[in-house]
């Protein structure tokens, strides 16, 4: 039985790399993964969400990403990911299982795939991380004026820095020590004159994402009576 437990742990580990694109947190932390069961080379995962009407495009991305993450593991021959208690669960589950793509799952409704959506939310996640990093610096006594000339190499080690570097890598932005800290979505440095405004907007993004994550955790707890794992700052 030890081997089975290990396989389930492997599956869980793979799933912890899947994030809610909107909340920018692992679906395992959020309580969205109910169980990962392993049997005879097959892994079967059940997902749940905070409400029956959670936006179906985000739901689709999480089911598809979970499916892909498990399929990438050589340990499993077959993968099943099933979203439950959601109004569009049937279409999403069938679409992901058939690898039909998002447009295939919602032939009548969708007008394309979800790459643009994913990009929008990666960019928001990056901006929120940038704000957390800058906030930390300012709390440590840095001046806002100095941020425009700051490079990644000058950042002290911190969880915020690691998180920022991960987001930059995801977006294909430079992560080297010489790269400027404060860049826009395309990697261009934000000039000193525009930086305060951009930082101010980044704060609104961070407040929004943190707030949504808190609400979603709360609703999930209410819906399923589970205990909350507090992880939101």
């Amino acid at each position: 039985m030890t081997a089975t437990v290990t396989l389930a742990e492997r599956a869980w580990q793979a799933l912890s790399g899947v994030r809610d694109p909107e909340l920018d947190q692992p679906i395992t932390d959020l309580g969205f993964v109910v169980a990962a069961a392993v049997r005879d080379g097959e892994v079967s995962v059940r997902l749940r969400l905070p409400t029956y009407f959670c936006a179906p495009n985000f739901a689709y991305l999480m089911v598809a990403d979970a499916y892909d993450a498990l399929l990438a593991l050589p340990e499993f021959d077959r993968v099943e990911v099933r979203l439950t208690d959601h109004f569009a669960a049937e279409e999403i589950n069938a679409g992901v299982a058939a690898e039909a793509g998002f447009a295939g799952a919602f032939a009548d409704q969708a007008t394309g795939e979800l790459e643009e959506l994913r990009r929008t939310f990666r960019s928001k996640a990056h901006l929120a991380c940038l704000e957390r990093t800058c906030r930390r610096l300012i709390e440590d006594g840095w001046q806002v004026d100095a941020l425009a000339d700051t490079t990644l190499g000058q950042l002290p080690e911190s969880a915020e820095r690691d998180s920022l570097l991960r987001r930059r890598a995801e977006m294909g932005l430079p992560t080297g020590a010489e790269a400027p800290l404060f860049v826009d979505d395309d990697g261009a440095p934000v000039p000193a004159g525009r930086l305060p405004e951009r930082l101010r907007f980044a704060r609104a993004v961070r407040v929004s994402i943190d707030g949504n994550a808190g609400l979603c955790r709360g609703l999930l707890r209410t819906r399923y009576g589970v205990t909350e794992q507090e992880g939101v700052s």
Partner: protein, 346 residues
Amino acid sequence: MYTKDGENYYIVDSHVHFWDGSPANQANRYGKGFTECFYDYHRNLSPEEWVWSLEKFGKYSEETLVEDLFEVGYVDKAIFQPTYLTDFYVNGFNTTEQDGAVAERHPGKFIVNGAWDPRDGEEGLGQLEALAERWNLRGVKLYTAEWKGSSKGWKLTDDWSYRYLEKCEELGVRNIHVHKGPTIYPLNRDAFDVADVDDVATAFPGLNFIIEHVGLPRLEDFCWIATQEPNVYGGLAVAMPFIHSRPRYFAQIIGELLYWLDENRLTFASDYAIWHPKWLVEQFVDFQIPEDMQSEYGVLTPDIKRKILGLNAAKLYDIDVPPSVAVADAPVESGEAVGSAPVVPA
């Protein structure tokens, strides 16, 4: 009217419902899911002593509504915002007619708002005209995530939507309340995107666009648009109850809103019966931005609270308020201008 520490507050609850979400009225699993979803919001964010049973929440009486709002909840004027959902509920969830019948039995208490749907085309324009005349409409509530047969949502920038907005202008229906729900169509876009509000707010400067739930879960997009469009307002339904369960987050929401908009474009709402106005009003009047956030967000004065709780909505709807609660119409300092340097702690 609510009085605390010698300060009077005139209360306009800008978003209330009289709905029937009971099993008998649910047309399908979507109706059941919708009621349960609302109920989870209710019990997740209400103080424990204010949580109803699912049965009562599904369908409450007219007596309960009137008592909760006006006798217990300090509300002076309540604005009915209909939510039809006729694809989910046999008789609709909450229609203008249902609201209007209650309002007529309690003169002076309610303002009745209507609704329209651009997918109703030419025929719907005629219906809007009749609705406006019958209920003397000053506002409408639009729900862009409403299903209609094979269509699963719409946008304010749809061609027919412009026709309806023109009709509103013509009829003097000035207040356009927009509720962004998880629109199904088109699925590959962000469902809560408020970009279409930007376009219509520019195209119709004579109309006021009150974005319900202050754009949540896209607070930042809402703020960005509202900064640029003076006729865009924020309705605080759904944001208010965080005051109880997550007060620091509530402080951040209010702080962001006051920074990007100003104190004249925010309106209080309970979203009754999801939340009860009594505890929302009491807690809001007692609320202050936590000390460690005040360097970023400033403080809430009684005048700011008075405007948010009633005076701002009273202006939108030409409601007469007693002189004892009026705030002098001095030019408002809207906080630091957008783009100025953030406050750096010394």
